[in-house]
């Protein structure tokens, strides 16, 4: 089953950076995943987070408030 990777962020530079990195990791490793950007603040708040960007994998919050490295993203998605 394909994974759903969500990136929560209101469109700040860090959020864009995280999205780009996640997409790179997914493409480079041929991972069967759907990358979704959640930009609406009301949707973001349903996750009860205080800092952005947030990386959500299959509805599990993994990283929040910082941009992880590619290696870390890969390990989280796998």
């Amino acid at each position: 089953m394909s994974k759903v990777i969500k990136i929560l962020g209101t469109g700040c530079p860090k959020c864009k950076q995280m999205t780009a990195l996640v997409e790179e990791v997914v493409n480079e490793n041929n991972i069967d995943a759907q990358v979704v950007k959640v930009e609406d603040i009301m949707d973001i708040m349903t996750y009860n987070v205080l800092t952005t960007p947030v990386l959500v994998i299959d509805e599990n919050i993994t990283v929040k408030g910082r941009v992880p490295g590619k290696q870390e993203i890969l390990e989280l998605i796998k």
């Binding site: 962020g9 530079p13 910082r66």
Partner: protein
């Protein structure tokens, strides 16, 4: 403590480049090398230390603490203190704001945090230490905490809930003391270190270019502007200096790290410290991009009141500093 950097700068300027002592260009270059090495070193140390603190005391813990503990009036001070150790990215200000009010934290306390957190951040503290020494840094940090506390108290008094955007009001009515205790990930320091290290690198990567450009400009000014040059225009007796400096500072933001080295030279050349600190607080603490983001949760009127109160407090503290020093 920094003698070795002076000797290193001496060596590069006089021995390697064979420049003659006493010339403007030579002095400017010497200043540039010394300042760059010293400031980057201190910046690195502070950012790294704050990274460690933050790893053990993340924002979720702050929220839970403020939301659950009864603090009998001290909550403004506590929120302000937490603001010091919590790094702040203006892009997080909206979720942070909502998260706080949702947790039942009063608006004024939330504001106290929102004022101090960007004002006393790791980059500003690191730069202050490198540029002005520990005494001025301490004054800056303490006044930043006080400023957040007092602004928060004033803003709470004004009963501003009615100026929130409708959907935030809705969130407020459903607000409750969050019961879920923050489950701290049990990680060893060794496990945390790579993440702290990476964050330190990310932060430094973002500010170092600005800092270096700022020091270069400062270095040039240092060598070419005569001592006491600004005293004529910006003396303590000029009552407009503080408000003008503060108002000029509010629109400046992304280049705050580049502005500080320049301001340091201005102080050395005769601008009163209080005026300079007011200016820097305006640069670091209030930013228009942040105001634009806050529009999602606050009406223009509320943003105006928020910025107005903080600006006023900054101006007052600028005057106070000028009287003390």
């Amino acid at each position: 403590m920094f003698d070795w950097i002076v000797r290193m700068a001496d060596w590069i300027v006089y021995d390697v480049l064979h420049l003659r002592q006493g010339k403007h260009l030579t002095e400017a270059l010497h200043f540039f090398i010394y300042d760059t090495v010293k400031i980057l070193l201190l910046l690195f140390v502070i950012v790294f230390l704050m990274g460690i603190v933050n790893s053990y005391f993340p924002i979720d813990k702050v929220r839970n603490y403020l939301s659950r503990k009864k603090l009998y009036g001290l909550e403004y001070l506590m929120a302000s203190l937490f603001g010091v150790v919590t790094p702040f990215c203006s892009c997080s200000s909206v979720p942070l704001f909502i998260g706080f009010v949702k947790g039942g934290i009063p608006l004024g306390v939330t504001f106290a945090f929102l004022v101090t957190s960007p004002l006393v951040n790791e980059v500003a503290v690191g730069l202050f230490l490198g540029l002005f020494g520990w005494k001025t840094t301490l004054i800056y940090v303490l006044s930043g905490i006080l400023l957040g506390t007092i602004s928060g108290m004033i803003l709470q008094r004004l009963r501003l809930e009615r100026y929130l955007t409708p959907w935030v009001k809705q969130v407020l009515t459903n607000a409750q003391r969050e019961q879920d205790a923050f489950v701290a990930g049990k990680q060893t320091f060794k496990q945390r270190l790579p993440i702290i290290w990476q964050e330190t690198r990310n932060i430094l990567k973002g500010v170092v270019p600005y800092v270096i450009v700022g020091i270069a400009i400062g270095g040039l000014m240092h060598g070419y502007i005569p001592e006491g040059f600004f005293e004529r225009y910006m003396s303590k007796s000029n009552i407009f200096a503080v408000p003008v400096a503060t108002l000029l500072a509010v629109p400046m933001y992304s280049n705050a790290s580049g502005i500080l080295p320049v301001v340091q030279v201005l102080v050395a050349k005769g601008i009163p410290l209080g005026t300079a600190i007011a200016f820097m607080m305006g640069v670091v603490g209030l930013s228009l991009p942040e105001a634009m983001l806050l529009k999602k949760v606050m009406t223009f009127k509320l943003i105006g009141i928020f910025f107005g109160v903080v600006t006023l407090c900054i101006i007052i503290s600028g005057y106070i500093f000028n009287v003390i020093f």
